[in-house]
Symmetry: C2
Subunit: 338 residues, 2 copies
């Protein structure tokens, strides 16, 4: 057997972004990969994921996951096809989900790859979105973290994003009294109500979030799923009914902030209203995966759950797709097609 | 039977305080009370309670309880002796706990008074403090709201106050790994560690709370019982271990604020650390009263639980006692003896 080499084109982190990331914070490199050893597989990536959490890992600060290393290839969710295998249980042609994204090819231990069976009617890309980490984030955050119950009025920010659009739709399917979303353009707002079945939505850029939420939810809200932080959280605290619950999932409005943001000035409302604010990260809820997969696959196949994607082509456009996602240019899951 | 009249001296709210309350916000009045009708009792108050929550009710804002009315007698916890009764089940000489404080005498429905039996070794005043609302606040907030478990490192602010001193001691008795308190004077700090059995304490006026907490709890905290809000909450967010829990009980640092306070700038830490912040009011936890009474009475009688009181004499000194309590002049429960 000849020592065949595979060329992988990869995106590295060249500099830690100050504020919003820019082109020069990334660099393209080429690397030669060898053949898989025992227990390894060589994967040709088909789809790459860019997600908001990645911005946090670009900073050199202590967090729940270590920061990305400078001058190393970025990592992230990816779906690919096994093109060579040294591992039992994985064969050439198998589709796998793994964490070695931001590159065209990956050589990795088979244990770090999960074989996925793609049901007809579903797309492999869905394992990066509605059937993957963002979908489970929505499912676990709404049902477990925020203790959603039928009859609740649910407000979700970043509602046109991968997580937010799933939150709103799952709330509707699970019997919410009303589902309200905020997003950053008139087109997204129309999409939420016309396509995704939100009862109401508003553009947070139009005027004060607190004012728009009060107008949209005059009887208050019971659950807030927070993807953005900042003035959205403050508005939710004002709008909460007694025993309201917030799932704190992300603070995308603050990820690019160079200065510490101001906190919600009305947090003391949590006392009298007896609110619960709970932060979470999806990896703590992997035990929900079987039920999540069953529920969400069913809704997708029946057409009750709509899955939006914004697809960008080409490994060299991954940084731009990532920066655009942070800026809200996506509707639904942002993926890179190779 | 002659229509005997009883003179009650009472404190009314004369003006809504702007910032810290002052003498002129209160007025003394005298009122003549008649004899109790059917189902009523006439009570001579022995002890009155002043509590932080009363400051909030002096503002004319929507809250979980309606605001105090201007030019009406204030209300609040009181223990008194029945001096005339028109009600079955309550007789002259009985001790009762009720909500018609800030006055020397009260004519009230028997249903609004709870007869208390005072065990030898316990004082009737305790029903305003460690055996009453502040004690239950500590018990419920620590054990239920913050889901305390043995081995937790517990931080409590306002630790020399009625609620805080109970929180720290109950945490110790229930098996905390370490109990840390903050208070506003060197004498209080010494009292916490020397008398109440706190493992460590600091004076929040000495330097930054965040810095002192980091020094006192280098391995982080698991539970924060928040009586004060503001920079204490921010410091706790920095210090929390993963899955930390905050019981939000009060924000005494903000009660006299004329401007909205700044919120915790680091609230987004709640996401990665998977923190739970939960506000509560004690009335939602009255179902715990039997177990609470059993536990706390036992600890008091065995000497394991220390009960501090600051006692001020005379109805006319009630406003001053209240203002002093807001300013931290008390150690333990502030009560007025009539």
């Amino acid at each position: 057997m000849t020592a065949q080499r595979t060329l992988s084109r990869e995106v590295q982190l060249a500099a830690r972004p100050q504020g919003a990331p820019k082109d020069s914070d990334f660099s393209m490199v080429e690397r030669e990969l060898g053949q898989p050893g025992a227990g390894e597989v060589l994967v040709r990536n088909l789809y790459l994921s860019v997600d908001p959490y990645m911005r946090g890992r670009m900073n050199d600060v202590k967090s729940y996951t270590p920061p990305f290393a400078l001058n190393q290839t970025m990592t992230g969710g990816a779906v690919g096809e096994v093109i060579a295998s040294g591992a039992d249980g994985l064969s050439v042609g198998d589709l796998v989900l793994h964490d070695q994204g931001w590159r065209t090819h990956a050589l990795l231990p088979a244990q770090a790859a999960r074989k996925v069976e793609v049901h007809s009617g579903l797309s492999p890309r869905m394992y990066l979105g509605i059937l993957g980490m963002p979908g489970l984030t929505a499912y676990a955050g709404l049902l477990e973290v925020a203790s959603f119950k039928p009859g609740d009025v649910v407000f979700v920010s970043g509602a046109a994003g991968a997580v937010g659009s799933a939150v709103g739709q799952i709330a509707r399917l699970k019997g919410a009294r009303e589902v309200i979303g905020s997003a950053g353009s008139a087109a997204k707002v129309a999409h939420l109500t016309n396509v995704l079945g939100f009862d109401a939505a508003f553009n947070y850029k139009d005027s004060s979030v607190a004012k728009q939420l009060r107008q949209t939810a005059p009887d208050g809200i019971d659950v807030y799923f927070d993807n953005v932080g900042g003035d959205h959280l403050e508005a939710a605290l004002f709008a909460f009914n007694p025993f309201g619950r917030a799932a704190l999932c992300g603070a995308i409005s603050q990820y690019n902030a160079a200065q510490p943001p101001s906190g919600p000035r009305n947090l003391a409302l949590a006392i009298g209203k007896q609110l619960t604010l709970r932060g979470f990260i999806v990896s703590s809820y992997s035990h929900l995966f079987p039920q999540f997969t069953k529920d969400v696959s069913g809704w997708l196949l029946s057409g009750e759950l709509h899955h939006d994607e914004t697809v960008v082509e080409g490994i060299e456009n991954t940084p731009e797709a990532f920066m655009g996602m942070l800026d809200g240019q996506n509707t639904g899951k942002m993926v890179i097609k190779l």
